[in-house]
């Protein structure tokens, strides 16, 4: 629905940045997606500012083969650290992944039950804690944006390894 440039044969890949840009570093995932030049990607790759979209993100996630998710985490690591994770079930996600997506990752489990789960690769960016209501990233996080943008750009060139089975409820 967001655009129709995808060709039928190539696996569809979604680069999805989530977070709340009103809460400083919490919005780092959105900053990364905004730093990407979508036009430079092949037509099967789509970039989406997921904001704090929670359940509204199920539709874009369900309609692709691989999701590259970028989100902030408060995991006690040095702020600005980046981890690449391949979570399968909700319990595999860092359990301090911030508030806005909790319903989303829980519902991902339902996709596994239905056989409609996309492959998810998570780039978790460590932040120091929930921030005041500001729209700027902290000085520590600012240089991380271009670094993660490069990482997810490289990730988008890797096709999904899984083949999705057909849903039982579609």
């Amino acid at each position: 629905m967001r655009k129709t440039k995808t060709s039928i044969d190539s696996p569809r890949i979604l680069i999805l940045g989530i977070g709340n840009v009103l809460m400083g570093d919490e919005g780092v995932g959105v900053h990364v997606v905004n730093a990407l030049d979508e036009a430079a990607f092949p037509p099967n790759v789509e970039c989406l500012d997921g904001g704090v979209g929670s359940f509204l993100l199920l539709e874009p996630m369900q309609s692709v083969d691989k999701v590259i998710l970028i989100d902030a985490t408060i995991d006690g690591q040095e702020p600005g650290s980046v981890r690449r994770l391949t979570p399968k079930f909700s319990t595999d996600y860092p359990n301090t992944l911030t508030a806005h997506d909790i319903g989303l990752k829980d519902l991902l489990d339902a996709f596994y039950l239905m056989g409609t789960a996309p492959e998810v690769v998570l780039y978790a960016v460590s932040i120091s804690g929930l921030q005041d209501m500001v729209m700027d990233l902290s000085p520590v996080l600012r240089p991380v944006v271009s670094k993660v943008a490069k990482m997810v750009t490289a990730e988008a060139a890797i096709p999904p390894v899984t083949v999705r089975s057909s849903p039982i409820c579609a």
């Binding site: 629905m1 967001r2 709340n20 840009v21 009103l22 500012d49 997921g50 904001g51 704090v52 979209g53 929670s54 359940f55 509204l56 993100l57 199920l58 539709e59 369900q62 309609s63 408060i74 399968k88 079930f89 909700s90 319990t91 359990n95 301090t96 992944l97 911030t98 508030a99 806005h100 909790i102 319903g103 829980d106 519902l107 489990d109 339902a110 996709f111 596994y112 039950l113 239905m114 056989g115 409609t116 929930l130 005041d132 209501m133 500001v134 729209m135 849903p167 039982i168 409820c169 579609a170």
Partner: protein
């Protein structure tokens, strides 16, 4: 005496923490605390009022579009702009879409598992399940093979040890009452609803340009109609909207409502639990003759006191004596001190955190204990939400609302007083979804008729230019979010935002006590609620979830000294 704490703080930063005191198997006192600070007001100060919607839309991931709607209305009210008919219709279509999707998700994914026992569904008889499903409605997916396949898949999932979505339930709890087969239908529709919901929200993408966080516009809507043009909203896109609406109506009438009524029939005892406050407030929404004429809204505006449905009071968002926010138990400070209440136009957002650093064992409920302010209408605590909306309409004699409410009461064979309960709140959400599913068809037909007759206007640009604005002005945008009355207030000075305040539904329902010690809706609704097993406070979850709080919660059980003795995570 036991103190039960429901709190997401130790799991993630969240919105809500509940502490409940249990004596003799019943809740005798309760405290609700918002644990996440808001301060959007500070970000907005000094900005162009026409941009405010884009910021407030990101306050909440679930109510995203209604915040934008409240914002553009607030600015239009301040500057004196009325929107063209097509813009009103498109906004109503966006509103209806949001409510239908949100209510279905709430019922199946955030609330149903409080009533449906997933583990019990594993031993249901697929043949019997099919028979029952066919008595509920003519929805096509009711064959024994369908339920048997689903059950096998569910078993494999459970056997894998990764219960996932189902990991956090209190399966086998004595408060679960449904037959195995009805549980299996519930699980089937949980999964079907997940597939279904992704379609209906495409209406937001079509009219709002993108999703999540669709576009809004002060003075109208940012979409252009041209029935022949490829890049505009054309006949093809409108036909797609028509299909999405039809599918949504089908799901509501053939799945959601039959399930709601079937489940409610087994839980009629919950029509006497969780009533809480006896005052209800609705701002109303879905204008049909412009925002300035609330008497023509589909959801009417008004307040009910003491459950007296024969009298509905007028509500005025601009009267500084009606809606006021208190901070006696909230982590804020006012220039005038802790005992005064401020109308939002005079609202102050000065943080004053005096609580413990999380994770903490028990809140100091004698002092300040929440990040939510405590709003009051004429100094009364009010419940907001689907139940309040239906009661206000019912009290005003709204024929459509009376019809669906009376039909449901008759079917369940319960009196109108059954509405004042946990079950009533959950039923009201479904019943208003039925109404909204009818209204979205009316709005869409009217829009199509306008377009066919050549009426294409979607924006009133007369006062777009700030040079046309007064030097100072103020406005209020009253609206309804799925979980209740939502309003924004603005003061504009020298073309910039001077003050901006939001009073959101959860502030009404989840706020701490007021300056007079009166409880708000969550706290009051828990009083008297039975708790069969203190280690598994399913009953607390049922009542709190009946209000549709935004986030998942974690539950912790504490003994009277506040010592942590048990922890269970709940969604």
């Amino acid at each position: 005496m036991t103190r039960i704490v429901v709190d997401p703080v130790t799991r993630i930063e969240g919105h809500l923490r509940i502490e409940a005191v249990v004596e003799g198997g019943k809740i005798t006192d309760a405290f609700s605390a918002g644990t996440m600070v808001r301060g959007i007001e500070k970000i907005l100060k000094g900005r162009d009022p026409r941009d405010a919607w884009a910021f407030v839309e990101r306050v909440c991931g679930v109510c995203t579009t209604v915040h934008a709607l409240a914002s553009v209305r607030t600015v239009e009210d301040a500057i004196g702009i009325s929107v063209p008919k097509n813009a009103e219709l498109v906004r109503n279509l966006m509103f209806c879409t949001q409510f239908i999707q949100d209510h279905v998700i709430h019922f199946y994914h955030l609330h149903a598992l409080d009533w449906v026992d997933v583990v019990s569904a594993l031993s249901a008889d697929p043949e019997e399940t099919s028979k029952i499903a066919r008595t509920l409605s003519n929805w096509p997916k009711t064959s024994p093979g369908y339920f048997s396949d689903l059950q096998k898949r569910l078993k494999a999932f459970v056997d894998s040890g990764q219960l996932g979505i189902f990991a956090n339930g209190y399966w086998g709890h004595p408060a679960f009452k449904l037959p195995k087969e009805v549980n299996l239908i519930g699980v089937a529709h949980y999964l079907e609803a997940l597939e279904w919901q992704k379609e209906v929200v495409k209406i937001h993408t079509i009219f709002g340009g993108k999703n999540p966080h669709p576009n809004y516009l002060v003075g109208g809507v940012p979409c252009s109609f041209n029935l022949e043009e490829v890049n505009a909203i054309n006949t093809e896109k409108l036909n797609f909207v028509a299909k999405l609406i039809n599918d949504a109506v089908d799901f509501v009438e053939k799945v959601y409502i039959p399930d709601l009524m079937a489940i409610a029939g087994f839980y009629k005892d919950w029509a006497a639990i969780g009533g809480g406050l006896s005052n209800y407030l609705a701002y109303g929404d879905l204008p049909t003759k412009g925002y300035a004429y609330p008497e023509y809204f589909k959801f009417q505006r008004g307040a009910i006191l003491d459950r007296d449905l024969t009298r509905v009071y007028d509500v005025n968002g601009k009267d500084e004596n009606e809606i006021k926010e208190y901070i006696a138990h909230s982590w804020y400070k006012y220039e005038g001190g802790d005992t005064v209440g401020l109308h939002p136009w005079k609202g102050e957002t000065e943080f004053n955190f005096t609580g413990p650093q999380p994770p903490y064992e028990q809140l100091n409920v004698e002092g300040k204990y929440s990040w939510l302010k405590t709003p009051r209408w004429k100094d009364n605590p009010m419940e907001v939400g689907p139940l309040a909306r239906l009661l206000v309409g019912y009290g005003k004699g709204n024929a459509e609302i009376k019809e669906v409410v009376d039909e449901a009461l008759k079917k369940l064979d319960v009196p109108v007083t059954a509405l004042f309960s946990t079950l009533g709140r959950t039923a009201a959400r479904g019943l208003e979804t039925r109404l909204i599913a009818r209204w979205i068809q009316e709005f869409f037909k009217e829009l199509q008729d306008n377009l066919k007759s050549g009426e294409m206007k979607t924006h009133n640009g007369e006062k777009w230019d700030p040079s046309t604005w007064p030097a100072e002005c103020e406005g209020v945008g009253l609206s309804e979010a799925p979980r209740g009355a939502l309003a924004h207030w603005i003061k504009i000075k020298d073309k910039k935002i001077e003050n901006y305040q939001l009073v959101v539904p959860s502030t009404w329902n989840a706020s701490p006590r007021d300056v007079n010690g009166k409880r708000s809706a969550y706290e009051e609704a828990l009083i008297g609620t039975p708790v069969a097993k203190e280690g598994e406070p399913l009953e607390i979850i049922r009542t709190i979830h009946s209000f549709d709080p935004c986030l998942a919660c974690a539950v912790h059980l504490y003994d009277p000294d506040g010592k942590h003795i048990h922890q269970v995570t709940v969604n």
